[in-house]
């Protein structure tokens, strides 16, 4: 099975994610996949959910916080600026309070709460998580490529979604119960109309947003999640553990891509240093191991390049390797 074939055979899988430990090439593969799909005439958005995003670096263009930027025809890239999103969000809350109660300024106690809430560690993740919903719901692209955060964070992200979801469900239930008492009192007092519960409406909207965001991560039909590995022992062990955890969260794993493989032609060099020869044979051991563990789930082997993958020509080269069709 090859990567190109997966894309050809499962055209309904529109949400593409690459996961793996930090520094293995998730952003690189995200960019290369976006490039390949765009060159096939698909409209693609690659966006980063990582507060330390590096799409700007790989495309060699500053796109941070600028919305979706067209890199080449059909290829759009976006880096979410969590900080300014949070600031705008806070302002929105303030404006709403002033407007609702006709105040000139926010009461001190409320203002300090607004500020303290924004300093919470989970705030940035939540803000990005929430914005993903806007991006995905807005539509307009054939493919969405998530440039994910490293493994631990991605798991945090997933568990956060399920915890949030449970919380909101509980709170919503409480709110609904409150509504019942209110209705009961209204009936006794023979009031005909009851004001709409705005909080309940907000809670239902929050729930919808969380479910949309986490629903995509676990959608078997529409989502493809690829793991990036390199032929090294520790990476291999960690990846197996992570894959297990991801399975528990029902993330649909679509396959593995092996990165940083030393090219075979090195061996032909008559004066190959001992150091490289050792690295090469070590990699062979782990490549065999990867094949025996993941078997047909290994979709591509990508050679270690002679230089960084930054800029479009390098991205194109990498895409050619990733999506080379192994005679299928």
């Amino acid at each position: 099975m090859s990567l190109a074939r997966i894309f050809r055979e499962h055209t309904q899988r529109r949400y593409i994610m690459f996961g793996g430990k930090g520094g293995l090439g998730k952003t690189t593969f995200s960019a290369a996949t976006a490039y390949w799909l765009a060159s096939q005439g698909k409209r693609v958005l690659v966006f980063s959910v990582d507060p330390q995003a590096s799409l700007s670096d790989i495309f060699q263009r500053d796109i941070y916080g600028q919305g979706a930027v067209e890199i080449i025809p059909n290829l759009f890239a976006q880096e979410i600026d969590a900080d300014s999103h949070i600031k705008a969000y806070q302002d929105q809350i303030r404006a709403k309070i002033l407007d609702m109660y006709g105040l000139d300024e926010i009461p001190e106690e409320i203002e300090s709460y607004i500020q303290a809430a924004a300093a919470e560690p989970a705030m940035e993740e939540s803000a990005i998580f929430d914005q993903v919903v806007d991006i995905v719901v807005a539509g307009g692209y054939d493919y969405y490529i998530y440039d994910l955060v490293p493994l631990g964070h991605a798991l945090y992200y997933l568990s956060m979604a399920s915890v949030y979801d449970q919380w909101i469900s509980k709170i919503t239930a409480l709110r609904e119960q409150m509504r019942e008492y209110e209705q009961m009192a209204a009936r006794f007092q023979r009031k005909k109309e009851l004001q709409e519960d705005m909080i309940l409406a907000e809670l239902q909207d929050i729930k919808y947003r969380i479910q949309t965001s986490s629903g995509i991560l676990t959608d078997r039909e529409k989502t493809a999640f690829f793991f990036v590995v390199v032929p090294e022992e520790m990476i291999l062990i960690d990846t197996q553990k992570a894959a297990e955890l991801f399975r528990k969260f029902d993330v649909p794993l679509s396959g593995y891509i092996v990165n940083r493989v030393l090219p075979e032609h090195l061996l032909k060099s008559p004066n190959l240093p001992e150091y490289l020869r050792n690295r090469y044979s070590m990699q062979q051991t782990y490549l065999d191991k990867i094949d025996s563990i993941f078997g047909g789930e290994v979709l591509a082997r990508v050679n270690e390049m002679e230089r960084d993958v930054t800029g479009l020509p390098m991205i194109e080269r990498l895409a050619d390797i990733m999506f080379a069709d192994g005679g299928t």
Binding site: Y89, Q90, I93, K96, I97, M100, Y101, P107, E109, I110, Y113, I114, A116, A117, A118, E120, A122, M123, S126, A127, D130, M160, Y164, W167, I168, I171, L174, R175, Q177, M178, Y181, E182, M184, A185, F188, Q189, M198, I199, E202, L203, I206
Partner: protein
């Protein structure tokens, strides 16, 4: 004509009487429903805005969205929360 007026008048008295009896009978229930509703409101604010008392419960990103709606209740809520001996009293 005269007969009709009489029935109307009687009808009005009858309705008022019914309202009066109904009011007496349901007054307690109404009070109970509103009181329960009020206690739950405080519990709700505690769950969503617990941070205000140093009890972080709901992720702050989403509690901010609810904040505007509870602004008027915050002061009474804080007073009540700090007065209550036991949180479950609020539900009794």
């Amino acid at each position: 004509m005269e007969e009709e007026k009489r029935t109307n008048w009687l009808g009005r008295i009858g309705r008022s009487l019914a309202d009066y009896i109904y009011g007496m009978a349901t007054h307690e229930s109404t009070r109970f429903a509103l009181k329960t509703r009020g206690s739950m409101e405080h519990l709700f604010i505690l769950i969503t805005m617990g941070d205000l008392l140093g009890v972080p419960i709901l992720p702050p990103y989403y509690s901010l969205r609810l904040l505007p709606y509870v602004v008027p209740q915050i002061a009474t809520w804080k007073r009540r929360m700090l007065r209550e001996k036991d949180l479950t009293d609020a539900l009794a």
